[in-house]
């Protein structure tokens, strides 16, 4: 695992636990389904915008992005790179 991925995973787990108040995140494997309701998905989008400066348009966001921790990490890495570029 790259260190960037590890860092983002840790930050995301902290965010889930302390901002979104989802305490079971400690037991979620990277490929486990998160099963987030629509309100939590909205809160997560706001968190990602604040934490990483990502402007996420919910209409154009592929539905698969918020399915697992792995898919969220990939989305953050990809979009951070675009922002930097």
């Amino acid at each position: 695992m790259s260190s960037e991925k590890e860092t983002i995973e840790k930050e995301l787990r902290d965010g889930f636990k302390n901002v979104l108040m989802i305490s079971q995140i400690d037991f979620v494997d990277l490929d486990d389904e998160l099963n987030l309701d629509s309100l939590t998905q909205t809160e997560l989008r706001v968190y990602l915008e604040k934490q990483y400066g990502l402007a996420i348009d919910i209409e154009s966001l592929p539905p698969t992005v918020f399915v697992t921790l792995e898919s969220i990490i990939s989305h953050v890495i990809e979009n951070k790179a675009q922002l930097a570029g």
Binding site: Q24, F27, V28, D37, V65
Partner: protein, 482 residues
């Protein structure tokens, strides 16, 4: 119908009865999986009568888990999979739960939260798990013999916010599901969209169990994707159930769609007319029910007929075995509480181990809905939730009527009217309004006065960014406006 007879009937179906993004099962395969999982539970020492918190997500594995717990003799307390772990921890202790089921991370988190003495086992593919906490277990039958026949309980927060469990026997619930399936003419060839959450009684009983009773195919919409025209066409959806509010967000062309049902919130006349325009090929049903009644009570079919010139559509016909009675007429005799006599009534309320069991002093088979209706030309029309009725300056205001007019004002997207305390005038009506364009309050008042008497319009108006709604699109009773 017993759980065994129901499972046997589903087990005879050779076609697919349940599907989600990852899997699908025929009736035969479903029965096999349920029997295998329930045997697995029994082999692990699970005792019949144990109260079980089952966090029900919208997927095939959760349905198998639900029926396997019922088959093993467990009493299922239907859990919201999105509830925080701390809340589940509280529910387990308050209601004497002896086992809990859900996705693996939630079960492991609950194990950690509850402390020592909790044993966890993986189920099926390992994505679901069970936790056993015998030290908290208090079977319902041992607490009060009137709960001896209970095997399914649905939580309601009511007006206090404190969860109470509405108790049912699964045979009665399955009977209600079959009545609903018959009332809207479900067929084995139908494909039903699993859109509403199955942790609510309408989604669980009317949608899911109704589909299984009809031998139809029930397809879960994934949690991460919205209800789209593309998905509905890909799945060849023929039956769709929604709240009226959600239905108004849709404008899609799905040729296979033949039945739509609407429930969970008042169906306004102008929305019914709009839905007739949008879905001319569909049978359209406005439905009414409440968890205490089983849950389904009445259905009004409104395709190919003139929608009456009323704010809210009629209640319609009672399901077989149900009788609708208006009681407690007020002095003017204009409206009264709807009472429902039904053979699928709840067995009572359970407030937890300390507060115990409670059955209101209702006549046999009767449910007091706390919904006010009036009778016009032999049809019943919803007036208001009794608790929502606002008394302002001594005059009664019914929020649904006011909201109906507000929503028809050009530029108003959504509205909610509530009673609030006023230091000087006691209770007053306050309207929360979401608009898509700038609107002046005087315009709003003018539009209301055009349709309603002066005494029936709110005293205060607030423009808000959003009207909070629940997962199914119902107005959120606990919403706090910023």
């Amino acid at each position: 119908m017993t759980i065994q007879a129901f499972l046997d009937a589903v087990g005879n179906i050779k076609s697919v009865v349940l599907a989600d993004q990852k899997s699908e099962v025929t009736g035969e395969e479903f029965l096999k999986e349920v029997l295998s999982a329930s045997q697995e539970l029994i082999d692990s020492g699970f005792k019949a009568g144990t109260s079980c918190l089952v966090r029900l997500s919208n997927n095939v594995a959760s349905v198998v888990m639900l029926f396997s717990v019922l088959k093993a003799g467990g009493v299922v307390f239907v859990g919201n999979p999105h509830d925080p772990i701390a809340k589940c921890d509280g529910i387990i202790k308050k209601f004497g739960i002896g086992a809990f089921f859900g996705d693996k991370p939630s079960v492991l988190a609950l194990q950690a939260s509850l402390g020592e003495g909790v044993r966890v086992e993986r189920l099926q593919t390992g994505k679901l798990a069970a936790g056993f906490c015998p030290h908290f277990s208090r079977t319902l039958a041992n607490q009060d013999e009137r709960m001896a026949n209970v095997n399914i309980a649905v939580f309601s927060s009511g007006s206090t916010g404190e969860p109470k469990a509405i108790l049912h026997n699964v045979s009665s619930v399955l009977k209600n599901a079959k009545k609903h399936a018959d009332a809207i003419g479900l067929r084995s060839a139908d494909t039903i969209a699993g859109f509403l959450p199955i942790y609510y009684s309408y989604g669980l009983v009317a949608n899911l169990m109704g589909s299984l009773a009809a031998g139809a195919k029930f397809v879960f919409l994934g949690n991460a994707s919205g209800l789209t025209e593309e998905w509905a066409n890909e799945q060849k959806i023929s039956v769709l159930s929604l709240t009226p509010w959600f239905a108004m967000q849709l404008n899609m062309n799905v040729p296979s769609l033949r039945v739509m049902t609407f429930g969970g919130d008042a169906m306004f006349g102008h929305i019914a007319r709009e839905l007739q325009q949008r879905f001319p090929q569909c049978e359209l049903y406005s439905t009414y029910g409440l968890t205490e009644a089983g849950p389904r009570v009445a259905t009004w079919r409104f395709d190919n007929r003139v929608v009456p010139d009323s704010e809210i559509v009629p209640l319609g016909e009672a399901l077989p075995g149900c009788e609708l009675i208006i009681d407690n007429h007020d002095v003017e005799g204009e409206y009264g509480e709807l009472l429902v006599r039904t053979d699928t009534r709840m067995l009572g309320y359970f407030y937890g181990v300390e507060q115990g069991y409670f059955m209101p002093d209702w006549q046999e088979d009767m449910v007091h809905t706390e919904d006010l209706f009036n009778v016009v030309d032999g049809e019943l029309f919803f007036v208001s939730r009794a608790k929502e009725m606002i008394v302002q300056n001594g005059e009664k205001i019914f929020p649904s009527s006011v909201e109906s007019v507000l929503r028809r004002i050009n530029g108003v997207v959504d509205a909610n009217v509530r009673g609030v305390r006023c230091e000087t005038r006691g209770q007053i009506a306050k309207a929360f309004i979401k608009t898509s364009i700038d609107i002046d309050i005087s315009e709003v008042r003018r539009a209301l006065l055009d349709k309603l008497p002066q005494s029936a319009i709110p005293s205060e108006y607030v423009f808000v960014d959003e009207i909070p709604r629940t997962a199914t699109g119902k107005k959120s009773a606990s919403a706090v406006y910023q």
